[in-house]
Symmetry: C2
């Protein structure tokens, strides 16, 4: 019987520009790692916190990893409890899916302690229960991407149907995390409750073209589709230089550029051969705007959650 298990999950690009609340993309430029230690006492507790943060909330209802672990233990009806060590490498409140990655990694680590572990895809509801901490109801995009890897669609919510979207080969995602923070809940709060029918149609046109382009590898369709006409116009004010960064990326050859999730991070898709110049152009636009920003890159085929070698049971 394992005394400890460890799992890591990648950052992710929520919405993928054109797919608000529908598409998500794993972005393996950084991973959160959670180590679950089996405890005799029931319940979920926070253990060591390492990485880019000094501390994390220890309240189960305020920590996506703890909440996911709690939901899983309750569903499995275990008698044991867990302490979770969290190594955080994904920037917080960056729009890089860090909260989802921690929730997914926690669910997978705790799952590995069960006598009869769930199949990985079946961890979705537990990871979503964790993500509820950051937004209620929880958006699926980051969670499913961190779980499955690659590009993923939430094809149906009830009953749940998530599916991989074939990722075109030869493409790279470039992402900039600027020195600015947005909260998912706040970024959702600015959205209008109604949109013009014409906007809904143009949004549907783009996501359909984009999905078809990904499935068939057709770059012209991806370019036609990789644009957010639904929510980006309502959120652009959150990052005043977004327009300039986007224009620079497109001019440098990017297939599309938009907020990652609800921002403030900005991502672009580029041909592998164009990725350097796209990154350079975006970096210069941030500099011109006087905004510090850190660049990340990952292929579209980024791996989802995975078990890592478990630590020695020394606790």
């Amino acid at each position: 019987m394992n005394q400890a298990a460890r799992a890591s999950a990648p950052a992710s690009i929520g919405n993928v520009g054109v797919g608000f609340d529908v598409l998500g993309q794993a972005f393996d430029a950084a991973r959160d790692t959670v180590t679950a230690h089996r405890e005799t006492e029931p319940g979920v507790r926070l253990g060591a916190v390492t990485g880019i943060v000094d501390s994390l909330p220890s309240d189960v209802n305020a920590n996506t990893a703890l909440a996911a672990a709690d939901a899983l233990l309750k569903a499995a009806g275990t008698e044991f409890g867990v302490t979770l060590d969290i190594d955080k490498q994904i920037p917080v409140s960056a729009g890089m899916g860090g909260s989802a990655a921690s929730a997914v990694a926690a669910a997978a680590a705790v799952n590995a302690l069960l006598e009869s572990p769930y199949p990985i895809a079946d961890l979705l509801p537990f990871a979503l229960a964790g993500e509820t901490v950051s937004a209620d109801p929880p958006p699926w995009d980051n969670v499913m991407a961190a779980l499955l890897g690659g590009l993923v669609i939430a094809a149906r919510l009830e009953p749940a149907l998530i599916a991989p979207v074939p990722a075109p080969s030869g493409l790279t995602a470039v992402l900039f995390h600027p020195d600015a923070k947005t909260e998912t809940a706040a970024a959702r709060g600015v959205l209008s409750e109604h949109v013009p029918l014409q906007t809904a149609v143009e949004h549907a046109r783009r996501i359909s073209a984009f999905t078809l382009g990904c499935a068939t590898g057709d770059r012209a369709l991806i370019r036609a589709g990789l644009e957010d006409v639904l929510v980006e116009p309502q959120r652009a004010f959150l990052l005043p230089e977004l327009g300039a960064v986007k224009a620079a990326a497109l001019k440098a050859g990017a297939l599309g550029c938009s907020f990652s999730g609800s921002g403030p991070s900005v991502f672009a898709w580029a041909e592998d051969a164009d990725a350097d110049q796209v990154q350079q152009a975006m970096a210069e636009a941030f500099v011109a705007a006087g905004r510090g920003a850190r660049a990340y890159r990952a292929p579209l085929t980024s791996e989802g959650v995975r078990l890592e070698p478990a630590p020695e049971a020394v606790r």
Copy 2:
């Protein structure tokens, strides 16, 4: 130099349920045929009208075939004119794309008289100019489907980008044309100018799932996606038995069921093996509603516009 040329174009299913103003599907259960006779006198005139109608408008601005021919002749700058014989086999005001088929067939027939004919796909703007007669601005769905055949997406309007969506093999489209008429312009007039953001998201989710399902042949994704949450709820009142017909189709195994275009025709997608029972179930639902309705069937791979053997030049 040809004195006459003839082309036929298929009926079509506008919107394909989930793809309002974005998707169209050729439906080769009936075709309109247009014969263009070269005339010394410039301009476009209506010749013989045959088929299921006794007459058609002879005014260029009131007849989609004449309007398409007129737009093409003007663009080509020809010195000759044409007389168009129209054999109409697609029911009028049925939501079966009859006006688009006539426009497409006319454009293709006249095109064949040009010294340097346009590639078929480049006939889109002329056929759209014809379709403007039935709705302004003209929806693209029927026109592009009648032109290219199969399932087609309008991926971008400006500049125009239309593309085939791979049609899954083994599926049949079943369509019922009930004894009721709707006018495209009127059916568009009932639509609300704004929709809830949540509806726009659910609509995008479905068209993305549907497109992916078609491209990959995944029936579960097609089922998840082939549902119109955007406009069908607003138009359902136009055909009170729609709900019953749809329920019957789905219960009989259909992958989805909705209005064809703006109705009143209703179509369903079914596995080839289920098509008989789906058709039977829909027929019974129409009977139960006391509505006469005629059934049509065609594969998803329906052929688009094609040239037909030209008649002898006897005029």
